[in-house]
């Protein structure tokens, strides 16, 4: 009996009919997440409905040494939920109940499959919302947000998922159920919530989340501002931030991205602009009014052309439509594209964008830029035609060079999409072996057998118990055989 059959034998008697997927065609529907270039058909798919079912499945996997991967809505862009060919894919989207909304405590308790936007919609009547808002918020799950530490356009002011989680139920890689945190804001001891958020499913599976709800602001205004160039727009961003204003969001799109969005959704952005900024201000009405004037003045300092102010939801919706549909829109002007997620210090926006266009030119590809300008999180979209020989390689080269550029500016290879399977190979460019080994120490505390989403984040993880790659003297206890280094 193979190991998958052994797992099956353990869990089948306890799960409802239809929860277990063995049929190959049906398993194939789970072969990738939002990063469709990496495809693996999982050996087994289990659709779970409770913490107990997750624990049961993970315990069986642990017993028979079978890797497992948790999957939410499958919208991730880094292959974080890419299945394991010899492993079990645990589908969490069937755990989608909002268990409690408590406006007075400013908390909600949700199952991990709950769709991000659904929570906000449910909390809105009480005057609250869930602040993290990735562009995929109408389909992505909160469990996925926790795994990836998702951001979104508004994290400049409101922070990332990790800033909004106060409690979790974790099924460890051994199948134990551990409750961490709760409604209170500060729990004593090591910050387990902090390390679990953004761990990309490699430290266990989260089966319940307590999140902080944020008060809906009194006023929201969205500005669309046209500039001659990305350089001018970038300088305006720096000036707005330097003026002490913390907008809820500052997004930038360059000419190619505007063109694509225009063709796709007719968002009616300023014609002929070399760049547009979408600036959203929120807070007390009086603040929004005062800040709006400062933003416009700073933008004019850098030659802003048209300034459009949206004051109601319909106008605001139109402005955001162009921005939020930009990735899909680029798909209409190019057969294929790679989206990157590099981060740079905001003050280096201008020079970095110039370097990106030089890289594009040298590699013979087009690059559209749509990004979170306020926090320096770039989303260069490298356009190519995979059916033409050599184009894919060129695009990958350009893409890799852009990440190197971000790193040379002191930035990061990923701001919000996660490392997953896609960017694991870039981790050694950002971190030393010692840095990566240190992260493995943490991994070994949670998942010594490397069964929870193996092959993600780290290119070649050291096994737990294996001596580190660094060279250092042997500890006396180790020499005496009384202790291991890990």
């Amino acid at each position: 009996m193979n190991r998958i059959d052994a797992v099956l034998g353990r869990i089948e008697p306890h799960l409802a009919a239809g929860a277990i997927v063995t049929d190959e065609t049906e398993r194939r529907t789970y072969e990738c997440d939002g990063l469709a270039v990496h495809k693996t058909v999982p050996a087994l798919v289990v659709r779970v409905t409770s913490t107990a079912e997750v624990a049961l499945t993970v315990r069986a996997c642990h017993e028979f040494d079978v890797p497992f991967v948790a999957r939410g809505s499958g919208t991730g862009l880094s292959g974080g939920a890419q299945p394991h060919a010899e492993g079990v894919l645990i589908v969490m989207s069937t755990m989608r109940d909002i268990l409690d909304i408590d406006p007075l405590a400013q908390r909600a308790i949700v199952q991990p499959g709950v769709i991000n936007l659904n929570l906000s919609n449910e909390a809105n009547p009480d005057g609250y919302y869930f602040a993290p808002d990735p562009s995929s918020q109408s389909v992505c799950s909160i469990g996925g947000n926790v795994a990836e530490n998702s951001g979104g356009a508004h994290c400049l002011k409101y922070g990332f998922t990790t800033n909004h989680v106060t409690g979790l139920t974790l099924v460890t890689a051994q199948g134990e159920i551990v409750e961490i945190g709760g409604d209170a804001p500060e729990y004593p001891g090591f910050d387990l919530l902090g390390v679990l958020c953004g761990s990309e499913g490699t430290l266990g599976i989260v089966t319940e989340v307590t999140v902080r709800l944020t008060r809906l602001p009194e006023a929201v205004e969205t500005l669309l501002i046209g500039f001659e160039s990305t350089d001018a727009a970038g300088q305006a961003v720096s000036d707005i931030i330097s003026a002490g204003i913390m907008p809820a969001a500052i997004e930038m799109m360059d000419a190619l991205a505007i063109e694509a969005a225009e063709k796709a959704v007719a968002c009616n952005y300023p014609q002929g602009a070399g760049a547009v900024l979408v600036v959203e201000l929120d807070g007390p009405a009086i603040d929004v009014e005062l800040e709006r004037e400062t933003v416009i003045a700073r933008a004019r300092d850098h030659g802003a052309g048209e300034v459009r102010v949206a004051v109601d939801d319909a106008e605001r919706g139109l402005i955001w439509k162009g921005r939020k549909s930009a990735f899909a829109a680029v798909g209409r002007i190019s057969p294929d594209y790679i989206v990157q997620d590099g981060v740079i210090p905001r003050s280096r926006l201008g020079p970095v964008l110039s370097s990106i266009s030089r890289i594009a030119e040298e590699c013979g590809v087009r690059v559209a830029n749509v990004f979170h300008a306020g926090d320096g999180n770039l989303h260069p979209l490298v356009l190519f035609d995979g059916s033409k020989e050599g184009q894919t390689e060129l695009a990958e080269t350009a893409s890799g060079r852009i990440l190197d550029l971000c790193l040379s500016e002191g930035g990061s290879i990923t701001g919000e999409h996660g490392v997953g399977s896609d960017k694991a190979k870039f981790m050694p460019r950002m971190f030393t072996n010692e840095d990566l080994d240190t992260m493995q120490i943490l991994r070994c505390a949670f998942d010594p057998d490397h069964l929870s989403n193996p092959g993600k984040i780290f290119p070649t993880p050291r096994l737990c118990g294996e001596p580190p790659r660094r060279t250092s003297g042997e500890h006396p206890l180790q020499a005496a055989g009384k202790a291991e280094l890990f």
């Binding site: 405590a105 908390r107 530490n149 922070g159 990332f160 990790t162 800033n163 551990v178 709760g182 409604d183 209170a184 804001p185 500060e186 729990y187 004593p188 001891g189 090591f190 910050d191 387990l192 919530l193 902090g194 390390v195 953004g198 008060r215 602001p217 002490g244 204003i245 007390p284 603040d287 005062l290 981060v343 210090p345 003050s347 979170h372 926090d375 320096g376 002191g410 930035g411 990061s412 990923t414 701001g415 490392v419 981790m427 950002m430 971190f431 030393t432 010692e434 840095d435 240190t438 992260m439 120490i441 943490l442 991994r443 070994c444 505390a445 949670f446 660094r470 003297g473 500890h475 206890l477």
Partner: protein, 383 residues
């Protein structure tokens, strides 16, 4: 030949720090860290270390980029000095950090290692959220970094958060990158009698920067709301709060603001915001019932310090009674541990209680410091 280490050392570079720790590790010696000494009375004193590392030689600002709202500095740098550097860019460092710790020389590394909390976690995010990246020296002397110096970064595990609040038990913080905030042009304070109004202000549209509750033994509680921003806005919002709350009046920064009350024992109670008024009321009733004075002060977001006991009473008994009472609450709603106490209390009282996830914490400690050499006995729950 093993070299004998001096008992007190003062490294002047991260490389030197790494060598010292590596040597101590090879010799099986325990190590503790001295920053500004402003939290020495917090947490149990721990075992006397074999090697004490004075961090004052690692006090350089590595990078300050006002345009990017970040500062990178070595761990031994004093918060007060770093705040001055941030001021040059009209910016603020560690907004949510207690003023008394700043005044008594707290260092960046100490601030992070102890995860200190202050009043301004509403508008400015608490300390754990502003540590963007960290460099640590591990138990065996390895220098490792995590995170970065950009405000948005999800590459790899967030070890900055793991080290924040680890009390030196997982590694020695050598440097850190911190997110700065623009300095507000104006601040305003409103004083409201009682604690009942606090939740209303939190849930209102006035976007408070802080909502603090202070209650001295035997007295009525007071809520103080701080708003900050542009002068016109501060004035308008201050007025709104006064109009909405009977008895509220415009005030100044109280003398106790961002300072811990002096008491023999301080208990840290973290509570669901919804239950804040209930906690304040129960503390008053408890004080009446047991006859020990209890000072309460903290944020309506749900982090309170309870100063327990008077100088002439046995602090251990009072602490035990208060803790036992608080621990009848669901720990998902309220969790209470001792933050600061004289030796007798650490020895005689169950100061930590049942901490959620403690088993995992124990495993993490064993992985990072298998020989238990780092700050033995200083960590939460004896880690």
């Amino acid at each position: 030949m093993t070299q004998t280490l001096p008992r007190l050392v003062r490294p002047e570079s991260i490389g030197e720090l790494s060598e010292l720790v590596s040597q101590a590790h090879a010799d099986g010696r325990t190590v503790a860290v001295y920053g500004g000494g402003s939290a020495l009375d917090d947490h149990p004193p721990g075992d006397t270390p074999s090697l004490l590392i004075d961090m004052s030689g690692l006090n350089r600002v590595i990078e300050h980029s006002p345009g990017d709202l970040i500062m990178v500095a070595e761990a031994g740098a004093r918060i007060a000095d770093l705040k001055d550097v941030a001021e040059t860019g009209d910016q603020e460092l560690l907004s949510d950090f207690p003023a008394d710790r700043v005044d008594s020389g707290s260092t960046l590394g100490g601030a992070i290692a102890t995860r200190a909390v202050g009043p301004r976690r509403i508008g400015r995010l608490p300390l754990r959220e502003v540590v963007l990246g960290i460099t640590v020296v591990l138990a065996d002397g390895t220098i490792a970094k995590a995170g970065g110096k950009v405000v948005k970064n999800v590459a790899g595990y967030d070890l900055s958060k793991l080290m924040t609040g680890s009390w030196g038990t997982l590694g020695i913080i050598a440097s850190a990158a911190i997110r700065l905030y623009p300095k507000a042009q104006a601040q305003g304070f409103v004083e409201i009698p009682g604690a009942e109004a606090a939740l209303g202000v939190l849930g209102s549209q006035v976007a408070p920067a802080a909502v603090e509750i202070d209650r001295s033994p035997g007295a009525q509680a007071t809520t103080v709301v701080m708003v900050e921003g542009l002068p016109e806005s501060v004035e308008s919002r201050t007025r709104q709060i006064i109009e909405a709350n009977p008895g509220a009046k415009s005030g100044f920064e109280p003398s106790w603001w961002a300072r811990r009350a002096q008491a023999p024992v301080t208990i840290r109670a973290s509570v669901s915001p919804a239950l804040v008024p209930e906690l304040v009321a129960q503390i008053a009733r408890l004080e009446d019932a047991i006859g020990y004075p209890i000072q309460l002060r903290g944020s309506a977001m749900g982090v309170f310090d309870l100063g327990v006991g008077a100088p002439d009473t046995d602090p251990a008994i009072a602490t035990r009674v208060v803790l036992e009472h608080l621990r009848t609450w669901d720990r998902k709603q309220l969790i209470a541990t001792v933050l600061c106490a004289p030796p007798a209390v650490w020895d005689e009282v169950d100061v930590w209680g049942d901490i959620p996830g403690f088993g995992l914490m124990r495993t993490i400690k064993d992985q990072f410091d298998p020989d238990g050499l780092l700050s033995p006995g200083r960590g939460t729950g004896g880690l």
